[in-house]
């Protein structure tokens, strides 16, 4: 009986999410072109412009679907997810419109996890496979405060090629749902549906060759929502493992550049696009290390091949995350 009602709620929010993201994205693309809000796609041999930012359609869809879910479930966890996503998305939107300095984004993103802490929507027990469980009543809220900016920035940093950020998060969300199903946390499974369906339909427009880019508003909102689901659902370790290739990408970048900065402000870019559209690694040792540079080092490749390689990496890390969820 309970499962049947969860199934009905799931069906309603799935339909709402699909309709909303489809209409919003299609409408947004035409509006953005009308107002000439486009950016150059760096990795194409021919000059091509893409509508930008697609974040508002992602944020609107997630908010509508989660509000409907809150109406049926009355769970404060859902409000925490909505507020975290909206705060991160708004910071991203400001960055899309005004270009915030590199260090401002992580500082402002510290505001996004506050609803999770104030609504007490977390469980301070952290479960490690083989090591067991630990209860961290004091340290855990501090960890939440840095975890959401990390996930949001991680998804933001992996948004380098057509369809990568949406495809990456979509695949990485599968182990989260799997772990939540194993826990029997149906509310959080339902809360993840809007993220998965939004990304699936947005990917249709974002995939190679992109018709729209999510922008910082899109990547920060989906990254923050991913982090919020992992924390509130108590599947943090699964989330970290599934995101490992993106976390490594951010880590390589920060370790080589040694400061918070925007990709577009770099003097030496990590990769070079040849006139035939093939992407090759920059040989200059001062160039930042990124996942794409590692993929094309000694192996110049087309954009499509690199996208496929990144997808293989996230499928592998998601597979490892599923194994870990079975061990917990």
């Amino acid at each position: 009986m309970i499962i049947n009602s969860y199934f009905n709620i799931g069906l309603i929010i799935s339909v709402i999410t699909c309709i909303s993201i489809f209409i919003c994205t299609k409408f947004l693309i035409s509006i953005l072109w009308k107002f000439k809000s486009t950016v150059l796609d760096f990795h194409k041999s021919k000059k091509s412009f893409v509508a930008y930012p697609g974040g508002p359609s992602i944020i609107i869809t997630i908010v509508i679907a989660e509000i409907v879910l809150y109406y049926f479930t009355n769970e404060s966890k859902i409000i925490a997810i909505i507020l975290t996503t909206v705060i991160a998305g708004t910071i991203g939107l400001i960055d899309d419109l005004k270009n915030l300095k590199g260090y401002w984004k992580p500082i402002l993103l510290l505001l996004s996890p506050i609803p999770i802490i104030f609504l007490d929507a977390y469980n301070p027990n952290l479960v490690f496979p083989l090591f067991g469980t630990v209860r961290m009543t004091i340290i855990y809220p501090l960890l939440i405060l840095i975890a959401i900016p990390i996930t949001a920035n991680t998804i933001n940093t992996i948004d380098v090629l057509n369809g990568v950020s949406s495809g990456f998060t979509l695949i990485a969300a599968i182990p989260l749902v799997f772990a939540l199903l194993l826990k029997g946390d149906w509310i959080m499974v339902l809360a993840t549906i809007p993220l998965i369906l939004t990304l699936t339909i947005f990917l249709y427009y974002h995939k190679y060759p992109s018709k729209i880019f999510p922008g910082d508003s899109g990547t920060l909102s989906i990254g923050a929502m991913y982090g919020a689901i992992a924390i509130i659902g108590g599947v943090e370790i699964i989330g970290v493992i599934a995101l490992l290739p993106a976390i490594l990408n951010s880590f390589f970048f920060l370790a080589s550049v040694k400061r918070f900065t925007e990709h577009k402000l770099l003097k030496i870019r990590p990769t070079i696009v040849l006139p035939n559209g093939i992407i090759t690694a920059e040989k200059d040792p001062r160039a930042p290390i990124t996942l794409v540079r590692l993929i094309v080092a000694g192996n110049p490749s087309s954009e499509k091949t690199i996208i496929n390689d990144i997808m293989i990496l996230v499928i592998f890390s998601s597979f490892l995350a599923i194994i870990v969820s079975l061990l917990i």
Binding site: L126, F128, P129, L130, F131, G132, T133, V134, M136, I139, I237, V240, I241, L244, P245, L248, F251, F252, A255, T280, A281, K283, I289, L291, R293, L294, I295, V296, A297, G298, N299, P300, S301, T305, N308, D309, I312, L313, F316, S317, L320, V324
Partner: protein, 79 residues
């Protein structure tokens, strides 16, 4: 596609390191209670805990960074 297997290896190594190092930090180091009986023992235990966590994080950072730099230098030599 040629570079995918070394990168899968890198993801796997960092996965093992994340599990082991963060498992040790969160389940063994952080829950340690006061190790000493004398006054200020709490502070010394705190400093010890922070130092161990710092060293373990550095081990993760230097291992992953070292492997990546070695891999990238080798690949760029052949490019």
């Amino acid at each position: 596609m040629k570079n995918i297997f070394p990168l899968l290896g890198l993801v796997f190594i960092s996965f093992v390191l994340v599990l082991v190092i963060f498992g040790v930090i969160f389940t063994i180091v952080i829950p340690i209670n006061n190790l000493f009986q004398f006054r200020l023992g709490n502070i010394i235990t705190g400093i010890l805990k922070v130092s161990i966590v710092f060293i373990l994080c550095m081990i993760w950072i230097y291992t992953v960074n070292g492997i990546t730099k070695f891999y990238l230098d080798n690949k760029l030599k052949n490019q």
